[in-house]
Subunit: 116 residues, 2 copies
DNA sequence: TCGTCATATCATTATCCACTGATACGTTAG
DNA sequence: CTAACGTATCAGTGGATAATGATATGACGA
């Protein structure tokens, strides 16, 4: 078994880092609330502010982050900017997480590691 | 539209928190490495240490966390404890994330918000 | 019974990351 | 052209979370 064969069994470190980044990106309640607002369709920043209850600069900053990593897309319409999910698999990933939460990962309710 | 109707359009705050916790739980490179080691099947703590290169107390602590939230399960075999993924949907969630990374969320490579 | 091995626990420390408030920027209407 | 509206930017502050090293605990073998 060559070194390459050994390595084939391991995930490349940067692939692991990318996964971690994606999950960390989704690990923020504010960004999840924003994505949840977008599951229903295209929305403006103000509509998202109203939907989530978050502050406008906060929403704008998170949207910039989500846009940069490619989870959402945007188009301008005069002074309004409308955001949407870039791919329906974003919603699918969140639904897959929900199914796991409902069936297996039931201990998160009384998790002591993460604050509520 | 009653208050209840309004609420129906919003995700319950604690449902959002649970999602955030699950994703934060997966947002750690060490825990992802551990889960990746378990995708291949049941392993002992030492095997996971060898596979991931992480310290033994570190692996043990993360396994405790994963066990508590329900993502992995364990069985004792003498002085050895063997861990495995509690549900194949854990691996499916990770694969769904990988597909998103490969196709849409391509900006995470040069993400400035999260360290590498 | 005791030493060894495998695993678990925890305090300390260091690092990571989100929100606010003020304000800048672009578009629109009068 | 200017004020108002919608959105974007950012420094400062505060809170969250992971790894280490030492050590405790339980099982096993001689």
């Amino acid at each position: 078994m060559t070194t390459q064969d050994v390595q084939d069994d391991l995930l490349a470190p940067d692939a692991l880092e990318l996964r971690a980044k994606l999950f960390r990106g989704l690990g923020d309640p504010s960004r999840l609330a924003i994505l949840d607002a977008l599951v229903a369709g295209e929305r403006s920043v103000q509509e998202i502010v109203a939907h989530t209850g978050l502050g406008q600069p906060n929403v704008s900053n998170h949207l910039r982050c989500l846009l940069h990593c490619g989870l959402v897309s945007r188009r301008s319409e005069g002074r309004f900017v409308r955001y949407r999910l870039a791919d329906r698999r974003v919603a699918e990933l969140i639904r897959a997480a929900d199914r796991l939460l409902a069936s297996t990962a039931t201990g998160l309710g009384d998790c002591e590691r993460y604050t509520e």
